[in-house]
């Protein structure tokens, strides 16, 4: 009796299990079909964004438009993992009344085949996603197409794709026998696994090694700029944007429209390989991205009946106006607002070298405010020394400490002024690595933190951690020689050792009390409002 009753129970159990498998499998297949349909309709980036959508859903309550095409699949996919266990039992009843053994065998075979092809593509279903909590969602860079998830930058297939993409960006007007494509800069050294999706280049292997010397493929001003970026001669968000626009002015000046082409379309196409080149030399900053968007818009808006000379003059004028408005005048406005916040007897803490913060402090000093400054610095860049030099040259009373001493010095501090590389759409501040530390410690000591940032650095990107999108600097910068010995000299030979030289980090809006922009003093959470207003204006 027991035996008889067991088998039907067993059967039911197995059937239920099969049912689970079947239904899960069915759901998976349905989803895959939908995905493939979408793939054929839209671009390829929909698939990885499905997972990224789910992971970002809790954080991206206010995330704006750029992901609208991927919203519908997200909505369909998001409820999918939840009701899978719930819908087992009803769908178990829906099973077709075929020979179960045959169906079982068929489905198992298909499953094996799909699993085999899945493993190659790196395609993941929803059950894999929770198993990899640290998996970074795909990057969202304004200029480059998104890479599929879980694909490492060193993967040879990805490198091949990137090389092909660079090749496709053939530079205009180059001779047919010369290689008209931008060379691919190869990564250097062992990368820490958390950041394996980012590029890591060596300063000793510049991109110019692979270019011909009288650079005909890329305008010499751009080659010079790329070199200055990669060697750090032009560093700092504002400086890089200004230098970029200066180089673009030279490009526009030397540009001649080829016959049968329109300036508005041809010039934009000509700028594309230059931007790829600069990106390879050093990843573009948010401010540079916004400047490039602006220029491209201006170029496309040139009416076709406009003569070339006049069009060029207009463009050069636009660039000058942009710099004047967004950088120079903005700095003046921010200085005016900030001076209201600086009172006599203040002890102000600054971190690293921010051109804007230095400007503010110099202006405040000229307006005869009595304050002293504590400059906090950190390795390996040690930019604080440059800030210190500029402030002391003005005559401001300064103290210099390293970031390890921040908690000891904070009881003396009355305000913290920080610069920003970019302000993200969810209110996070992206700045030099170490800024979030300082903001955190300041919050613990109840010291107000004020971030100064021009509006052209506001970015529509959303990030909550520093892993997703960052920049890896040359790891050899961390090596230091003291008293004749260099301990890390042969770090590459130690297989378990990796050097990590991060450049940026993000500070949550809870630690920031006020953001001073050229539009006024706003709280961190009003950044999306500003972005929306800017979009409406344009």
């Amino acid at each position: 009796m027991v035996m008889f009753s067991l088998t039907p129970v067993l059967d039911v159990c197995t059937q239920q299990q099969e049912g689970k498998e079947l239904t899960k499998e069915e759901k998976q297949r349905l989803r895959k079909e939908k995905k493939q349909q979408k793939k054929s309709k839209e671009k390829k980036d929909d698939k990885p964004s499905r997972d990224s959508e789910k992971e970002k859903k809790p954080a991206s309550a206010a995330s704006p438009a750029p992901q609208t095409p991927t919203q519908p699949p997200a909505q369909k996919a998001a409820p999918a993992p939840v009701p899978v266990p719930a819908s087992e039992t009803p769908s178990a009843a829906d099973k077709p009344a075929k020979s179960k053994a045959e169906l079982k065998a068929e489905r198992r075979a298909r499953q094996e085949a799909e699993r085999a092809s899945k493993g190659k593509k790196g395609d993941v279903g929803p059950q894999a996603a929770p198993g990899k909590p640290k998996a970074p969602p795909s990057e969202l860079q304004p200029v480059v197409k998104r890479l599929p998830e879980h694909v490492q930058v060193d993967n040879p297939e990805v490198l091949k794709k990137l090389a092909k993409k660079l090749e496709r960006q053939q530079v205009y007007g180059c001779a047919p026998n010369c290689c008209g494509c931008i060379p691919l800069r190869s990564d250097y050294g062992y990368k820490v696994s958390l950041f394996s999706h980012l590029h890591q280049y060596s300063r000793k292997a510049p991109l110019t090694q692979q270019l011909g010397i009288p650079s005909t493929v890329i305008h010499p001003a751009i080659v010079r700029l790329g070199l200055q970026y990669s060697q750090g001669i032009v560093a700092g968000s504002n400086a890089r944007s200004v230098a970029l626009l200066h180089a673009f002015k030279q490009v526009i000046r030397d540009y001649t429209t080829p016959p049968n082409e329109e300036l508005s379309r041809d010039l934009v196409n000509r700028l594309k390989p230059y931007i790829s080149f600069l990106n390879q030399c050093r990843p573009l900053s948010a401010s540079m991205g916004n400047a490039i968007k602006y220029i491209k818009k201006e170029i496309s808006n040139i009416p076709s009946q406009c003569k070339e000379e006049e069009a060029k003059r207009k463009l050069l004028n636009c660039i000058d106006c942009y710099i004047n408005e967004k950088i120079v005048l903005a700095a003046k406005a921010i200085a005016k607002y900030s001076i209201e916040k600086i009172s006599d007897g203040d002890v102000i803490l600054v971190y690293g070298c921010s051109s804007l913060v230095n400007h503010i402090l110099c202006e405040a000093f000229e307006k005869n405010r009595k304050f002293r400054v504590i400059v906090v610095d950190s390795r390996p860049r040690l930019e604080g020394r440059e800030a210190l030099r500029r402030l002391v040259q003005k005559g401001i009373n300064c103290t210099y400490v390293l970031i390890s001493a921040v908690s000891y010095i904070l009881p003396e501090v009355s305000k913290v002024f920080l610069g920003a590389h970019a302000l993200l759409a969810n209110g996070y501040v992206m700045s030099r690595v170490g800024t979030s530390q300082i903001a955190l410690v300041a919050k613990a000591f109840n010291v107000p933190v004020l971030v100064c940032c021009e509006t052209y650095k506001f970015c529509e990107r959303v990030q909550t951690d520093s892993f997703v999108s960052n920049e890896l600097d040359d790891p050899d910068d961390l090596i230091v020689t003291r008293t004749g010995t260099t301990q890390l000299e042969h770090w590459q030979e130690v297989p378990s050792l990796g050097l990590l030289n991060l450049v940026y980090d993000v500070t949550p809006p809870d630690f920031v009390d006020l953001v001073i922009t050229d539009l006024g003093m706003i709280p961190c959470t009003s950044v999306p409002v500003v972005l929306r207003v800017k979009n409406v204006d344009q």
Binding site: T208, L211, I213, P214, T216, V223, A243, E386, R389
Partner: protein, 455 residues
């Protein structure tokens, strides 16, 4: 266009007259290729498509007939001929072609054999917006014995003192021993700006310079400078720290000078000051200045001044630690180059059109040129044999350089010698460490050691 290449091939080879009195230095065979093929090859590999070649009519004639030049050099050569009397220095030559120069230039000498990665020099020029960027190399000891000179005679070469800053890239000081009478004196202004200076003496100047266009314009107005290496480069290095360069009032000074020009009794000094303004005080465009102000980079630390100490004139040098870099301007260098240059370029040891009999013993590091005829029972070791040379039976050639069109009769024994073109070595001659000039004839059974046979 970014850079224009200029090849200086009009030099007379004054330090190896034995070799050059008949063949111009630019066309001397090194590894069976004319000497000027090497810098042209370097430029071509780097991606240049056009070169301005400054040379004499004789060299131009030889160039057009030489097969190597016609086939291997694919760049467009714009040949400019100048007089052969040798009074024109390198800077004078630049002044001569000033009209052709539209952008920054890269000046190369025809006697440079190297495989340097040129981007190292040019990157310094680009990144720092330098006025001058040059290449230097650690001097190599010459190991080969030089024919015609008994024993290892160390030529009393004048030493060059080169001062670089701590990074090894910025050129702070350059002087030749001949110009320093009492000793090396360094100005206080340099020491204040660059407290740590490394002074090196064992460096060879490769005579490869990247110069800004403004320098060429300066040369055009300033006719007193005639040599790049001897006068222009030390002048530019000195002017980096000159007081006038850092003075913001220089534009006003220039205007005052202009006005006073007619009144001044010695009007010759004024043009110099005016010309200095060209290279020295070209103001940065305002955007570039803004970018530099906002950038948090400085090339030095420890004092209160901005990047580059605010100086607009900057000279940089790239010093090659390893890798071949030869200037073939002496006999010893010529021999060394012959030994090493073919290995550099992976020359085919035996030219396909050479006729070599089977019973000839040829070492692996010998190079035979085109259309040679090598007879039986010869032994050729560590030597270079030029085109159209005939070597008869039972000849032993070791450690020698034999140029084109030479006839070597039977039974000769040639060691460590240099035999120039069209010479005839008689039967049974025994030459050790000799230098046989162009078209000379050695009598049969002659025994010569350490001799120079030149007319």
């Amino acid at each position: 266009m970014e850079l224009q290449a200029v090849l200086m091939a009009a030099g007379g080879g004054s330090r190896m007259t034995d070799l050059t009195y008949n063949t111009p230095k630019a066309m001397l065979p090194v590894g069976n290729k004319p000497l000027m093929w090497y810098p042209l090859n370097l430029l071509e590999r780097m991606g240049f498509e056009e070169v301005i070649v400054i040379t004499t009519k004789e060299v131009q004639k030889m160039m057009s007939t030489d097969p190597k030049m016609k086939l291997d050099v694919k760049m467009k050569l714009d040949v400019v001929c100048i007089q052969e009397d040798g009074d024109m220095g390198t800077a004078d030559a630049l002044r001569h072609i000033q009209q052709k120069i539209k952008t920054d230039i890269l000046v190369v000498s025809c006697d440079l054999i190297t495989d340097v990665a040129l981007h190292e020099v040019v990157d310094l020029f680009r990144a720092h917006n330098a006025t001058l960027a040059m290449l230097m190399s650690k001097a190599h000891e010459f190991t080969e014995t030089v024919p015609g000179q008994k024993g290892k005679k160390k030529t009393a070469e004048q030493r060059d003192f080169v001062g670089v800053d701590q990074s090894g890239k910025r050129l702070l000081f350059m002087a030749n021993e001949a110009d320093l009478e009492d000793g090396l004196s360094i100005r206080k202004s340099i020491m204040r700006k660059h407290p740590r200076m490394h002074i090196k003496t064992g460096l060879v100047d490769a005579h490869l310079y990247c110069l800004k266009k403004a320098v060429v314009d300066f040369l055009a107005d300033n006719k007193s400078i005639s040599s790049i290496r001897g006068e222009l480069v030390p002048y530019l290095v000195r002017k980096q720290f000159s007081k006038t360069t850092n003075c913001p009032k220089i534009k006003d000074d220039a205007e005052d000078q202009n006005q006073k020009k007619n009144d001044e009794p010695h009007g010759r000094q004024n043009p110099l000051k005016l010309c200095e303004c060209f290279i020295i005080s070209t103001p940065n465009s305002p955007l570039l200045q803004l970018a530099q102000d906002r950038s948090c980079w400085n090339d030095h630390r420890g004092d209160m001044s901005e990047a580059y100490h605010g100086g607009k004139l900057r000279c940089y040098v790239h010093i090659m630690d390893e890798g071949p870099c030869y200037r073939v301007n002496t006999l010893a260098a010529y021999i060394e180059a012959n030994r090493l240059a073919p290995k550099l370029f992976e020359e085919v040891p035996v030219h396909p059109s050479a006729v070599i009999s089977e019973r000839c013993q040829m070492g692996s590091d010998s190079y035979i040129g085109a259309m040679c005829q090598i007879a039986d029972k010869t032994s050729i070791k560590r030597s270079t044999i030029g085109n159209s040379t005939t070597v008869k039976e039972k000849v032993k050639v070791a450690n020698s350089i034999i140029m084109h069109g030479v006839t070597i009769e039977e039974g000769c024994n040639i060691q460590g010698s240099v035999i120039c073109s069209n010479a005839v070595i008689g039967r049974g001659a025994d030459l050790k460490y000799c230098l046989v000039g162009n078209g000379q004839q050695i009598e049969p059974e002659g025994k010569d050691h350490w001799h120079e046979h030149t007319p």
